[in-house]
């Protein structure tokens, strides 16, 4: 009876299921499995993205994902990877990663749910430690085959006379033609800053790719894609912040940062490049998160549509600010850390995480 439901009806049923329920359902029988494979759901908007965390010092081949539907953690094996990886950015249902055993930048795409992995082609100019930025070209419903571009700026490359030099070229990868293109040059001092003081992630907002640079004081660098121009933005309390992260929220560039012994704050970039304070992390959540310590030290931030989170280690838990009513109300939540999976203790390692929309359907970008 149920196993012979027409595919069009069954596919609609499946489109309402969260990833873990879908995984169970599609495994029930051949018909259901074929239906799920043939009609992968286009992830309707009410599905939430999941937080995926990897230990920063990669030991062992697995990652941990937080299921927001039932508020628990799952462990996903990464034994299909040829090399240990570090997440760079989220591209909807996929993650952009870089292998950690390689000093030259190489990038790859990965879907830990379908156990797919594929290297992007090598850059035209190989370099170490550049800044990386991602632009998703069809925002909205994240699908299994997104159209996206990756920008790489700065880094150090081999100099013609031996040794190394700061690389002032910008390259762009387009997923449509699966190739890197040299886009032009950037001022050398920016190339230096992006190489030395920048983590790999960026935020794209309104035509501009932004990176946080953390020299003695934090500051923001922006690259305007349309005009190929660079600019710099100051950061509130730049020399006092212990951590600072750029995120995208509600169409605006957002900054999260904290000073020692004080609240963590959230600012939004307004017109005229000024920052407006919009929220502070509630004190009791901050205390719980830091485990009684005063320093925000290793705190990192992640963001997705409708949520911002602060995280540190597997066991420290997460502080999440989530959209409750569309564009109207956001509320703070506590997410318990990952301590045990199937009765096995999880080492309390520092983590690096991204949000992604779990997709159980194989992507042709990765085949």
């Amino acid at each position: 009876m149920w196993s012979t439901l027409p595919f069009d009806i069954l596919a609609k049923v499946f489109s309402f299921l969260s990833p873990d329920s879908l995984a169970c359902a599609r495994s029930a029988c051949r018909q259901w499995h074929t239906c799920a494979r043939t009609y992968p759901s286009t992830l309707p908007q009410h599905h939430q993205s999941w937080f995926l965390a990897l230990p920063t010092r990669n030991r062992g081949q697995c990652c941990y994902v937080h299921n927001p539907v039932v508020d628990n953690w799952h462990m996903l094996s990464l034994d299909f990877l040829p090399d240990p990886i570090r997440p760079v950015a989220s591209i909807g249902t996929l993650i952009l990663v870089r292998p950690t055993n390689c000093t030259i930048l190489q990038l790859a795409l990965c879907n830990p749910f379908t156990r797919q992995f594929k290297y992007l082609p090598m850059l035209n100019i190989t370099r170490t430690n550049p800044a990386v930025g991602v632009v998703i070209l069809e925002p909205g419903q994240p699908g299994p085959n997104p159209h996206f571009r990756v920008y790489v700026a700065g880094g150090m490359s081999e100099a013609s006379r031996g040794g190394a030099t700061y690389e002032a070229t910008l390259e762009m990868y387009d997923s449509m033609d699966d190739a890197w293109h040299i886009m032009g040059f950037m001022p050398v001092e920016f190339a230096v800053r992006l190489t030395v003081w920048t983590p790999n992630e960026s935020v794209y907002s309104d035509g501009v790719l932004y990176w946080m640079t953390s020299a003695r004081a934090y500051s923001v660098m922006g690259f305007h894609l349309g005009s190929n121009t660079w600019r710099e933005l100051s950061v509130p309390m730049a020399d006092r912040l212990e951590f600072a992260a750029l995120l995208w929220r509600n169409g605006r560039l957002t900054l999260v940062g904290g000073t020692c012994g004080e609240d963590a704050c959230i600012w939004e970039l307004r017109k005229g490049d000024s920052w407006g304070l919009i929220e502070k992390v509630p004190i009791e959540l901050g205390i719980k998160f830091l485990g009684g310590k005063r320093s925000w030290g290793t705190t990192k931030c992640g963001a997705t549509e409708g949520a911002i989170c602060l995280y540190r280690e597997f066991g420290s838990g997460m502080v999440v600010w989530r959209e409750i009513e569309e564009k109207v109300r956001w509320e703070w939540f506590w997410v318990e850390g990952c301590h045990f999976i199937r009765d096995k203790q999880v080492q309390n390692l520092q983590i690096k995480g991204v949000f992604l929309y779990p997709n159980l359907a194989p992507s042709c970008l990765l085949s």
Binding site: S3, I9, F16, S21, A23, C24, S27, C29
Partner: protein, 232 residues
């Protein structure tokens, strides 16, 4: 040929087990299938619904009736009437104070019954009309305007109870809604099936709940277990 405004017309629907149901056209045409039959002029005599059992058809008709009733109760016509009643009641309460008359006139000149009316009523209320009965009138009016929210909720609750049935009945409803092409019913039953699946915490539970037998080979079964081993 039947005209689309013929709300008094009654159609005869015949179930798979040969039971005849007499249903008002306005109710029956919630089904696209039946609507097409009517529009093609083929609704003479009895419309046979070859795959729908009488037990299911009875429920489907109940669904359609409820939805026709809901639409009738909540169209704008009835709100306009309420406002006119309110208006005449207010005028009758003998508010001889000049400013009240003015306010009422201002309010009267607004034609629509959306949020701005509520605002007007609130402004009017706060403008110092301390007469208790006037305030009550405004509150009653506001309550009637806001009733739309709870009507929708009432329908949702009714729909949830309607689909809260055993698996066999749910299956029959699903196929009937699809065959008869009743979008509202199909969507609600689909959501219900999804909700039932969401209650299952494992593949075994899904199979048990829906009476599904695994038709995978042992090797395939193993592979599938691997695929979803991350679910605890």
């Amino acid at each position: 040929m039947s005209s689309s405004n013929n709300s008094g017309k009654v159609l005869k629907l015949k179930s798979k087990d040969n039971q005849i149901f007499e249903v008002e056209e306005s109710v029956a045409i919630q089904s696209e299938l039946i609507k097409n039959v009517v529009e093609a002029g083929c609704d003479i005599g009895v419309i046979p619904l070859l795959t729908v059992h009488s037990k299911t058809l009875r429920n489907v008709i109940e669904w359609c009736q409820k939805h026709v009733d809901y639409v009738e109760e909540n169209d704008s016509g009835s709100n306009e009437e309420e406002i006119k009643n309110w208006e005449s009641e207010i005028c009758e309460e003998g508010n001889n104070n000049g400013s009240d008359d003015e306010e009422t006139k201002n309010w009267e000149s607004e034609e629509n019954n959306n949020g701005s009316d509520e605002e007007e009523a609130k402004n009017w209320e706060s403008e110092g009309n301390n007469d208790g009965s006037n305030k009550e009138e405004v509150e009653n009016w506001e309550w009637e305007e806001n009733n739309d929210g709870s009507d929708e909720e009432e329908l949702e609750n009714w729909e949830s109870k309607f689909v809260d049935v055993d698996k066999d009945s749910l299956y029959a409803l699903l196929l009937a809604a699809d065959y008869l092409s009743i979008d509202s019913l199909l969507e609600r039953v689909i959501k219900q099936v999804a909700d039932v699946i969401k209650q299952c915490r494992s593949v075994e539970e899904v199979r048990q709940t829906f009476g599904i037998k695994s038709d995978f080979t042992p090797e395939e079964e193993e592979e599938i277990r691997e695929e979803i081993s991350w679910i605890d």
